[in-house]
């Protein structure tokens, strides 16, 4: 016991040195990330790629059981749900009829015009492995990665609407930044007024619309689709409907159910514009001309 106490004292200075070295090393990692973030982010993707799939065997059953419990709880409202579903089904039948007619009409018109549908929008389907694990980030990890041909920047959709875009591709996994994430910015087009705007995530379920030129022309219920501006994101993907938030801001009620994502389609879009660097300062193009002219 006396030895024990002595060893504590003996190791005191060495321990302090060790703590110092660890702190300096951590600060160095942080600084490197701040200076050259793409490289460190690639390293992050690599770590996630190693760590998360090793849990895959455990993730699936636990998630399954949790969902089972949640489903079981919903049995209590079975009767109410049933009548709701019946009513909805009735409405859907009418819509189905309309959709079938439109499909036939569409096929006829396409045939008349000799249009061939763009084959570049095929997709890869992935299963959601994990969420971001933090209340401040909105992203999910898919079990498809570089080995399945996933490329950074491709859009991800659930069956109906846009969910987000790929950001960070590992060998076996890839991360989808959801539209609700605070760093998500998607150029959108609001139909029928045809106005262009930016859908900016703010960590809420219904992201707000920003940079809208004439808000008075936009009504709640208008359709929102991606506009393809800047040519980094494919146009005409369904996003959702305009809604008026409690804070009187125009928001988008997403078509995709981002609270219950299970399978995601990653669209093979060919972005014409590649994002390689953080980007320079945006100045009016004629600024230089004016300066030279004077």
């Amino acid at each position: 016991m006396a030895r024990d106490r002595n060893t504590d004292d003996f190791f005191g200075p060495i321990r302090k040195l060790l703590v110092g070295v660890i702190v300096v090393a951590l600060l160095a990692i942080f600084l490197v990330w701040r200076i050259d973030s793409p490289r460190v982010e690639r390293f992050r993707v690599m770590i996630v790629d190693r760590f998360v799939p090793s849990f895959e065997w455990a993730l699936a059953p636990v998630t399954g059981v949790a969902n089972l419990v949640a489903d079981f709880q919903s049995y209590s409202q079975l009767a109410a749900q049933n009548s709701d579903l019946r009513r909805e089904l009735q409405q859907m039948k009418a819509w189905k009829e309309a959709a079938l007619q439109l499909e036939q009409e569409n096929a006829k018109l396409l045939g008349l015009n000799n249009v061939r549908l763009d084959p570049k929008l095929t997709y890869v389907t992935g299963v959601v492995l994990t969420d971001s694990g933090s209340p401040f980030r909105q992203s999910v990890l898919l079990n498809v990665g570089a080995r399945d041909g996933i490329v950074d920047g491709w859009p991800a959709m659930d069956g109906i609407g846009l969910v987000g875009r790929i950001s960070g591709v590992g060998q076996k996994t890839s991360r989808v930044i959801l539209l609700a994430d605070t760093s998500s910015r998607i150029p959108v087009l609001i139909q029928p007024s045809g106005q262009r705007a930016i859908l900016a995530g703010d960590n809420t379920l219904n992201p707000p619309i920003e940079f809208l030129e004439n808000p008075e022309e936009v009504r709640p219920g208008d359709r929102v689709v991606t506009s393809g501006d800047g040519e980094v994101f494919p146009p005409d993907l369904q996003v959702g409907q305009v809604a008026l938030g409690n804070d009187r801001r125009l928001r988008v009620r997403l078509s995709a159910d981002i609270e219950r994502l299970e399978f995601l389609r990653v669209l093979r879009a060919q972005p014409i514009e590649e994002v390689t660097d953080p980007g320079g300062l945006l100045t009016p193009e004629n600024l230089e001309v004016m300066a030279n002219g004077n």
Binding site: D4, I22, F30, F51, S134, Q138, N203, L205
Partner: protein, 179 residues
């Protein structure tokens, strides 16, 4: 005897590492997806604090640094910033850990709670100084307060699950070693 003590410490470290990995894994489960309007406590931080105060030897600084660095990378946080703050916090507490034994639990809780709030504030300050995207203030405050409030819960749980009792001054274990 020395090897026996060594192996017990290694066992303790292993338990800490396994418990931390389990917490990371639970946080990653895709059960409640979508933006939350509330934020729960940071269980990983609480576990580290409780172990450092109860049995400093079970959570060596290297283990804490590795666990939090892994968490930083996996939870999409700025790497190493939160880790540095946690290492600093645990080193402060490690120094005071023997002192807590002679104090009532309420004093320990208040001290730890103050430090938790401080470390959240310093983290946000750093992010602001380095012009990085700040998470929503409301959620961060909620998480900091929840973490401070949840300390007794983790303290009790660590006793029930991991067998980390609050020790009193000069208490020895079954083999007469200092705890």
């Amino acid at each position: 005897m020395a090897t026996d003590l060594q192996s017990r410490v290694w066992f303790g470290i292993c338990i800490y590492l396994v418990a931390s990995t389990a917490l990371i894994y639970v946080a990653l489960l895709p059960i409640n997806m979508g933006p939350a309007s509330w934020a729960g406590p940071d269980w990983l931080l609480l576990l580290a604090l409780v172990v450092v105060i109860r049995r400093p030897k079970y959570a060596p600084v290297l283990a804490i640094a590795l666990v939090f660095l892994l968490a930083d990378f996996i939870f999409q946080r700025p790497p190493a910033l939160w880790t540095v703050l946690v290492v600093w916090l645990t080193e402060l507490l490690r120094k005071r850990a023997p002192g807590f034994r002679s104090m009532p639990f309420s004093v320990e809780w208040t001290t730890v709670a103050g430090m938790i709030l401080a470390v959240f504030a310093v983290n946000r300050l750093f992010l602001a100084i380095l012009i990085m995207p700040l998470p929503p203030l409301g959620l961060v405050v909620m998480q900091a307060v929840a973490t401070a409030l949840a300390y007794p819960i983790v303290s009790v749980l660590s006793r029930l699950v991991m067998g980390l009792r609050r020790t009193s001054v000069g208490e020895l274990d079954a083999r007469g070693q200092r705890l």
